[in-house]
Amino acid sequence: MKWVAIGIIVAATAAGEVMQAMGMRHHGEIRDFRPGALGRAAALLVRNRFVIASVVAMAISFFANEGLLSVADLSFAVPATAVTYAIETVLAKYVLKEHVSWTRWTGASLVICGVALVSL
């Protein structure tokens, strides 16, 4: 049960976050945080297909996370799902076409090693 939940969380989170980043990049930088402007941004975002797909994936991840938290310690559950970092950094480079410098690869590697140690 624990590892099935982790598998679902990892797959849904990686897919959801990459699509969310894709959707927000299509939308462009949010600069105006007044209520009216935020309302207009929200109206645009609810019609953005990447954002809609990301919300569905995040909802799947959320319910799997609920199940995981009911059977595992918080200090295990949260870090154990961080394998998504490796997957998402690769997807950021090849799908989102981001320039992932050596600093980012090293930082992400340190985080992944740290998360593995915290989870064991």
Binding site: H27, E29, R49, V78, Y85, K97, G107, G114
Partner: protein, 142 residues
């Protein structure tokens, strides 16, 4: 250009802090309000009405909205490591407030996470791709 760079960096830090705190506090509240075991599908819905879980859900909604705003100008490969300090804070919250054990190995893991965050946040610009205007970008997403 320097002024624009400083504005973007300050905005990135502000939103990163909101993302981290909302995530840590949201997960803590979820764990605090979660029963020993969820048996049926309806339990997953019913549990949302427990006060701690409701508060956790609100904080996780705030986390998602702040993260979406952050991703509208910052790279995913920047946001991921920078906000990962939340993992270390979640382990600490588990130890302090829920009396979960933190072994020497977990402390070493927390130190590596902090080192990774410091490396990326200190030596890397938040975005490597030219920002679009909101209006132009929205047309492309449809």
């Amino acid at each position: 250009m320097d002024k624009e760079h400083a504005r973007l960096r300050a905005k990135t830090w502000l939103f990163a802090v909101v993302v981290i705190l909302a995530n840590v506090c949201g997960n803590f509240c979820m764990k605090r309000g979660m029963p020993e075991r969820l048996t049926g599908p309806l339990d997953y819905i019913a549990v949302l009405f427990r006060p701690w879980v409701s508060l956790g859900v609100l904080l996780l909604i705030l986390w998602m909205l702040a993260r979406m705003a952050l991703l509208s100008w910052a790279d995913l490969s920047y946001v991921l490591p920078v906000t990962s300090i939340g993992y270390a804070l979640a382990a600490l919250a588990g130890s302090v407030f829920l009396h979960e054990q933190i072994s020497a190995r977990r402390w070493a893991g927390i130190a590596l996470i902090v080192a990774g965050v410091a490396l990326v946040s200190g030596r890397s610009a938040p975005n490597t791709i030219r920002a679009k205007t909101a209006a132009a970008g929205a047309e492309g997403a449809r």
